[in-house]
Amino acid sequence: MFKRILLRLRDMKTIATLISEADKQANLSGEEEPGVEHFVLSAIELPDGSAKRVLKQIGTDPEEFKEAIKKQYIEALNSAGISHKCIEDDPEPIESKTLLHNSKPSGQALMKALHAFKKEEKDSPLLGMHVLVVAASMKHSVAGRAFKIMGIDTKILTDAAKDELASIQY
């Protein structure tokens, strides 16, 4: 019982960090509200380090995720006959003063799915790799397309996350 309360407190702290960093990532991209892709960037930076380890475990570079987001925009614009130069390499960051942020619908969908996912795993803490697994299941999202560009297979990612979870002492 006591362990579960501690776990819940830890999860609340993780969620606060995840949301705050996702907001920061969105603002750095010149966007007001975070989408699922910003939650993935946030998860990669979570102090537990599990998202980074899982991505490395399956042979990908976590740093490539941001590039994969940009690449999908460039490819999509090229398919419409538009030069990639129309997308800024370094969009001007915005400084949002909003205290209580909202998320884009994809960000909200991720948090909802993450909640449902965690209900199934009540006895383990919420970790960055959980965010990766849920985001990878959103195949048609910006994050899903970025994973596809990185050559990430959802099944392999999920299996690596399970292995990682089994190896963690908490």
Partner: protein, 71 residues
């Protein structure tokens, strides 16, 4: 700015919807730059709102913070 020569076919929703998202990102970036330039050229928020087809409040809410930051 390039002109759109071709658009992905709606028959291929995967490609077409990815293009919609990318076009939206491009449009938002263009909007930010254009509003910043309009303010620098002395446009009022009412004029910007009229040009964007939104209310003055909506235009101000969306862009005022980033404009103030630069001035």
């Amino acid at each position: 700015m390039s002109t759109i020569k071709s658009l992905p076919s709606p028959d291929n929703p995967e490609e077409a919807l990815a293009a919609v998202v990318a076009l939206r990102v491009m449009a938002e970036q263009l909007e930010k730059k254009a509003v910043k330039e309009a303010i620098a050229q002395g446009w009022s928020w009412s004029q910007i709102a009229e040009a964007l087809g939104v209310t003055k409040q909506a235009a101000h809410k969306r862009h005022a913070a980033s404009i103030k930051k630069k001035s």
